[in-house]
Symmetry: C2
């Protein structure tokens, strides 16, 4: 089980290798929300998403021999790129199992970082089974995208930075909105903040029809989504929260929020216009919640994590059309 000490350890291994991402804001976004919004721009992290942190945390902790043996991961694309890039830096062979409908940019980049990509059908096959099968046959270390404690510790380093940045800016009290798929990032951040600053409360944000974490929090037990595909938020379409992550989320997180696809696209457009960063749909849900659901947020200051920027041009162009009206 991940604890605060593991997050601090992960930070020591990550230092000098990950980007310390900025906390950005714009008076124009604040005006829309009627609150002060701070975007933690993890889209500027290496490989374009926070996932690099967890991947590096895991691989940097392997023995020399384990690294030589190689690693495997299943991922819709951001964990894929994070693992592929970290594996390359350590000289580890790497196989990534990805859904064949993953964004082109994510599949291409994963290959370009040096991994072998195995594609599967999201509606017919179970990625865990494929991953475990190959891992066993080839004796590879499987890096679970959110249930692995070292991965959660790596993602939690985002929380260490947030706590430091919030202190520097003199923010005393804020909700911290984090998009939620399997829950690796939010549980890592929640662990870090619960230790460092009790006035920063994490809340999961999910797209419509994929609000398994919100429902699980409400019912106090793990609830599963009906659908497994059919949202533009490809990065966070897990069927349910992880067993390990939900234990942490249940203990430390406040109520979840749900945003529509249109709200997500508008948030992407507004991040372009006012923050000058690229967010992908899954990475924009927290910003969308802060902008369009301020009535559901009690604090005056809101931290939102912009988790990734690996978006296909077609969807980005669609988002920009919301500025034309």
């Amino acid at each position: 089980m991940t604890d605060f000490a593991m997050i601090k350890e992960a930070q020591r291994r990550l230092e000098k290798h990950s980007n310390y991402t900025p906390l950005l804001n714009s008076p124009f976004l604040d005006k829309i929300a009627g609150k002060r919004i701070h975007l933690k721009a993890e889209c500027l992290q290496k490989t374009g998403s926070f996932k690099f942190r967890g991947a590096w945390s895991f691989i940097s902790n392997l023995t020399e021999e384990e690294r030589k043996g190689g690693v495997i991961a299943f991922s819709s694309g951001n964990h894929a790129q994070g693992v592929s890039a970290a594996a390359k830096a350590f000289g580890s062979p790497c196989i990534i199992v990805m859904p064949k409908d993953a964004p082109e940019v994510k599949i291409n980049n994963t290959r370009n970082y040096g991994a072998e990509v195995v594609l599967y059908d999201r509606n017919k096959e179970v990625r865990e089974d494929i991953g475990l099968d190959i891992a066993k046959k080839k004796n590879l270390k499987l890096i679970h995208p959110y249930e692995e404690s070292l991965v959660i510790a790596g993602q939690g380093t985002t929380g260490l930075e947030i706590a430091q940045q919030v202190q520097y800016k003199g923010i005393t009290n804020a909700d911290v909105l984090v998009c939620c798929g399997g829950g690796g990032l939010i549980s890592g951040i929640a662990l870090a903040l619960s230790e460092l600053n009790q006035n920063l409360k994490t809340r999961p944000v999910e797209p419509e029809n994929f609000d398994d974490t919100k429902k699980s929090l409400e019912q106090g037990k793990i609830v599963t989504n009906k659908n497994v595909s059919g949202s533009i938020c490809d990065a966070i379409l897990t069927p349910q929260p992880g067993e390990n992550t939900f234990k942490i989320i249940k203990k430390l997180c406040k109520a979840g929020l749900v945003v529509s696809e249109e709200q997500v696209l508008k948030a992407i457009a507004l991040a372009f216009l006012h923050l000058k960063v690229i967010l992908e749909p899954g990475g924009a849900v927290a910003l969308a919640a802060a902008l369009f659901l301020p009535q559901l947020i009690e604090t005056e200051q809101v931290i939102v994590v912009g988790t990734g920027g690996n978006i296909d041009r077609e969807i980005f162009r669609k988002a920009l059309t919301f500025l034309d009206v």
Copy 2:
């Protein structure tokens, strides 16, 4: 005349008000250039460009009475936004003289930060005359976009950050490419780096047909462009280097580089794809030079300043089409 002490003073006044912008890179960009490229992402600066630094440096140094009297500036749009936002923070009345063909986003934002905007025709009128005239009539402090020593000092704080970031990353020797209009930013950065790290040499980058600084450096005296409009790089279309800035540039900068409009648009597209930041045309010329003119750069490591991100959607969409081929 600006000196290193003034830059350090400006940094003290700016601290806690400006963003310390990250130095970003991508192995995919490095592969294109055959060099290690580091982008200083000043597009993530407040108001979307480095100009906030110089504006804050100037207004924060005024007396209380002068601030109450108000300020005026002429600008194609980034200095406009920087001055407008800084003036608002200090409660100063503010008038901005802008060309009527400036990007819509820049005119709108300048107004939204609270300034009164006076539009003029770039081909028929001289902005300096309009600005000086209003300044005299209304007794406003004129903030020259690049000849004012406190503005140069403010822009120079970018150089202080670059020197610190370069040291942290263990870079020992690099060319520092900076786009160049009137030369306020490059002269500030050159002053800072000449004091802190002699192995970081600044070089101006300009768009085709607006290479007045490159030619001025070659001829050892100020040379003027034939055209005053007709480039997408609106932010850096000054007719010639400033008198004050050229003294610094002549003493401290290496040879200039020139990029085409197509190279600029491609650089904008590649920054979207691999760095997840928005660059405007004028802000992308240094990146374009590093990517497409590596044979003209001697160092293995290249710092490029991505100076601004205030781009109209139409041009951004045009840039994205370069990814479609």
